[in-house]
Symmetry: C2
Subunit: 361 residues, 2 copies
DNA sequence: CTGCCTGCTGGAAAGGTTTCCGGGACGAGG
DNA sequence: CCTCGTCCCGGAAACCTTTCCAGCAGGCAG
């Protein structure tokens, strides 16, 4: 068995003192000439092909080192039809949750030899479809998508056309789209949070959340169903918008200004939580006394807040890693030891009760 | 003047009902055949070359639409020697500051037609050099780097070898490296913060900061110089480590446990600030009464904290945008209206006094 | 009418790699 | 001695574009 050698990783400077200026990056051609062999032989040595004599390997590797040759991944990708790159389009990298997912996915993919092509859609579905197309033209081997709007018609159409494997993160798979997905069980955490508030006597709720799609819809439904199941005249006003600090702030201001102020606010999203806390603070409302509050994702702000903020939390990086693995499952030829991975992964969420949830007045 | 047409953006599905299965993505060859012209003509039409008759343009575009042709950027990059992609290696994407810088840079580069190849070094300089090499082999047109360690010998060596334009963000340019940089004037903000604390009577300081390099060193020097200039017996213990929440927490615990507890803590970095606040909170220390505190970067946590945290703040996305523009200045042929951009950009920082800085006991 | 220039087009090379295929050398078996 | 098979190696096509160059037709001036 012959090991493939990877000249790309040699950090050593070429032995040859090629002074700056002339030396255009040497190609395989130069290596072949210098070693006095054919290009095909160089290629075989470098790619670990079995039909290579020890002597050949030696002379080629010497030439490679002397010239400091590093293969051109562009040409390689073109010829092989595989680029070892995956596209990741995300609705907002500045969102710490998404950033952590990207981190996890990048790490896992890097370990498997893939690079990440990152695009940011700024919550704009038009950019999503543009990016999907762009990444395909760049010939990525696969796509990981955290879509701005999973049901945008253009987006769905684009998704249907995609030829490479796709993994959706925390989004439902639109009908007619061949994809895998990793999602969180937001409902479980939200249900627990709502029940907790109910037990503490709350009946008037406000929920701040994103649009009508996956992560927001799950949360909303969990809250509504839990309240309905409880009967008891519990009621919840819904504030739908986008997952941004700004909307969290605006919605909270609106809630505080309303005639019938709820006794409990649930912020369904970490950006919304930050915005809500800023607004509550600006209004001088004492969280945990005048009003109870539940947020999402256990950021430092939740723990440090006075009083500490109860949150629905989850293992964020796990989602990134899971997404990468789902994709790798499709990209790498099925290893025997890794039987076909599931099409969908659902990760748990958990409610953490803290002092921000007080008994209802 | 002829406009270049970009078939990549057509979101319309091909007129031709090419049923799934057979149709391998059509190439320029298929388009040429269908239009009954030569490939060179197709290329000319698509790239906006002037030597194209109206009739030619029409028939080619028709074929393009019918087949749903989208050019292969890999082959294009190979032939043109330009990939319209830039590599961005960052020490930690999960750091909200870095995430925002990436966001800004991505947006600006995208507008200019470039894609972002993102790699995460996890604070490991070895990964930095690996990534620099990898990105070069992927033939990126330029590099934006937020290095793990700007003075790591391997890193510096790798940097010296790089052939494409490089922009360093918030790092000093090692000697012998041809690069531009965008950095923050951390010293100004830190000086203001320190002076503020001095005026309030503090003499015993603790500074938590990163390693011996750029962003940390600047901050440290500013604090030390300001204290030295004040005379007055002011003193500061330095806690050097890495820019992570965990180190912020550990260092703060250590500070609180020390025999001579300082009256003011400065956290030089947003992750450190988060960690410090968590530790202070866990220890039950009342910030702004028992101890004064200054953090970095105006995250929501600083504003919402009770009492609000005084911080040194700065315009983060601006750094990303500036980095992108510095790079574009080198990548795009010098426009007349945009005279040679500066080699280095320094962005200001500003101290925001808040209640976390109390008079010294 | 000739010559030249302009406008447009097609053919082919080039960019850097991988892979298929054919073939030479050599040992073994008949 | 011939054939066959194995082991290696070199040549060339292929991947998908762009770009250079040559050529052809037509217009215009001389």
């Amino acid at each position: 068995m012959t090991l493939a050698v990877d000249p790309g990783n040699v950090a050593s400077v070429p032995d040859e003192e090629e002074q700056a200026g002339d030396a255009a990056r040497p190609g395989m051609r130069e290596v072949a000439d210098r070693a006095g062999v054919a290009m095909s032989s160089v290629s075989r040595v470098l790619s670990g092909h079995p039909d290579v004599s020890p002597r050949m390997r030696q002379v080629v590797m010497a030439a490679v080192r002397e010239l400091g040759y590093r293969p051109d991944l562009l040409a390689q990708g073109l010829r092989r039809g595989k680029t070892f790159s995956v596209g990741f389009t995300v609705s907002d990298i500045a969102n710490p949750v998404l950033a952590e997912i990207v981190t996890g996915a990048e790490k896992r993919l890097r370990e498997a030899g893939y690079s990440l092509l990152l695009t940011n859609s700024e919550g704009n579905p038009a950019l999503d479809v543009e990016h999907i197309s762009l990444l395909e033209r760049r010939r990525v081997d696969g796509l990981i998508l955290s879509l701005a709007e999973e049901n945008d018609p253009q987006t769905v159409a684009a998704l249907r056309r995609v030829a490479v494997p796709v993994v959706l993160v925390d989004r439902d798979i639109p009908t007619g789209v061949r994809a895998r997905s990793v999602a969180f069980d937001h409902a479980a955490g939200m249900k627990a949070a709502t029940e907790h508030l109910l037990r503490r006597g709350h009946r008037e709720f406000a929920l701040i959340t994103g649009g009508p799609e996956r992560p927001a819809r799950e949360r909303r439904r969990a809250v509504e169903e839990t309240l309905a199941a409880a009967g008891d005249g519990a009621h919840c006003t819904i504030h739908e918008g986008e997952f941004s600090v700004d909307f969290g702030r605006r919605a909270t201001r609106q809630i505080l200004a309303s005639a019938f102020r709820p006794t409990a606010i649930i912020a369904g999203g970490n950006m919304l939580m930050q915005g809500a806390l800023l607004a509550l603070h600006a209004a001088g409302v004492e969280v945990g006394r005048e009003i109870s509050f539940v947020g999402c994702d256990d950021l430092a702000i939740a723990e440090v807040h006075q009083p500490p903020i109860a949150v629905v939390r989850r293992d964020i990086p796990a989602a990134g890693i899971a997404a990468a693995e789902l994709l790798l499952g499709e990209l790498e030829p099925g290893d025997a030891d890794r039987p076909d991975p599931p099409q969908q992964v659902v990760l748990p969420t958990e409610f953490v009760a803290r002092a921000s949830c007080a008994p209802a007045p």
